[in-house]
Symmetry: C2
DNA sequence: AGCTTTTAGCTAACATCATTAGCCAACTTG
DNA sequence: CAAGTTGGCTAATGATGTTAGCTAAAAGCT
């Protein structure tokens, strides 16, 4: 029996990819094992179980989302930064719906939980966007939550097929970006 | 063996309540059967299975959400209507996280699917809010999607414990309502 | 190299859960 | 009150997550 050369990172990466393909609910240990060329129980040498796998996929997803949004924002400010961040976030969720779904409903176990640090990085990327606007200190937290709500809400509704009519969805998203930009400038 | 006097509606209502208590993922047929005082296989006399149960819970949730939002809006217009609708929607999601989660990711099978009609009613309630603003015909769909995105995004992020810092969440929500009202008035 | 230790894979077994089959008593309807 | 329908039951099956215990491959040491 030759070894497969797995490690936790490889298992988690394969799990995230599989979740994107078949949906988070369709991600089973058996399917993942088959994907990485191993029998199911062998996965438990690398991850603690389904819940642990989910947390690790979530941490990976948040980290990648932070990279995507942070990278997109670089070199832009104001409306351009807002648009770049929002587009990057939505693109990430639409391309990686399974791993993004894994991030919902988890509580970081502590300040050094990878989940928490990745989340902080993502938050930091959105915070950088707000620096391009003149926002009172007391409004920053509210504005940040608004940004997250908009981006998360729009992206997950679209990913869940929540928009029914035929009006172009990309157009709606650009409209939403413009709406938010005007609002942030007028605070 | 006395009969339990169940019917599909009772099973679905109990399932929705149970989903709110233990989370949608924790809703098992066995748990639901115990809750309604029956053995597991008996549930299949009333619902087709877990997927069918989920769809029916979703339809119930959308219908109840439509009632809540529609009722809250009555008699108000403009900013008051917006605030009433947003608060009612968020309150519904926070009080009924399980059944709301059941609504995500489903495609109505046709125009007379209860899921579709309930969804239309909920959409209608939000559309009514927009009538209190002077919005160009071409912007209505975009504005509606914005409303849904921000209500859905904020409520689900909060329900999923997605807001980390200590800034008061209710305050952020009111801030978001005010932000949206100003924006809609300035279109 | 050869020996030991660790470890990543395996098979076998078990628990939980959704679902189906088939039976029987309780309602309903004439 | 007889006949049919139906809502409950037990038993059984298949899928899935998980643990136990074995073994061979890799890694480390002399």
């Amino acid at each position: 029996m030759p070894r497969a050369g797995l490690d936790p990172a490889a298992v988690v990466a394969a799990g995230a990819a599989l979740a994107d393909e078949v949906g988070l609910a369709g991600l089973t240990m058996g399917l993942l094992a088959e994907r990485v060329g191993v029998r199911t129980p062998s996965l438990y040498k690398h991850v603690g179980g389904q819940e642990d796998l989910n947390r690790r996929i979530a941490a990976l997803a948040l980290s990648q989302a932070a990279d995507a949004v942070g990278g997109a924002v670089q070199g832009y400010a104001g409306r351009d930064a807002l648009a770049a961040a929002a587009r990057a976030f939505r693109a990430f969720v639409l391309e990686h719906p399974g791993r993004y779904a894994a991030t919902l409903g988890l509580e970081p176990s502590g300040p050094d939980d990878p989940l928490a640090t990745a989340g902080q990085r993502l938050l930091g990327a959105f915070t950088a966007v707000l620096r391009g606007y003149e926002i009172a200190e007391s409004d920053v937290d509210h504005a940040l939550r608004m940004l997250r709500s908009f981006c998360h809400g729009f992206a997950t509704l679209q990913a869940a097929n929540g928009f029914q009519w035929s009006t172009d969805i990309d157009e709606s998203f650009e409209w939403l970006i413009a709406f938010t930009d005007r609002g942030l400038r007028a605070i």
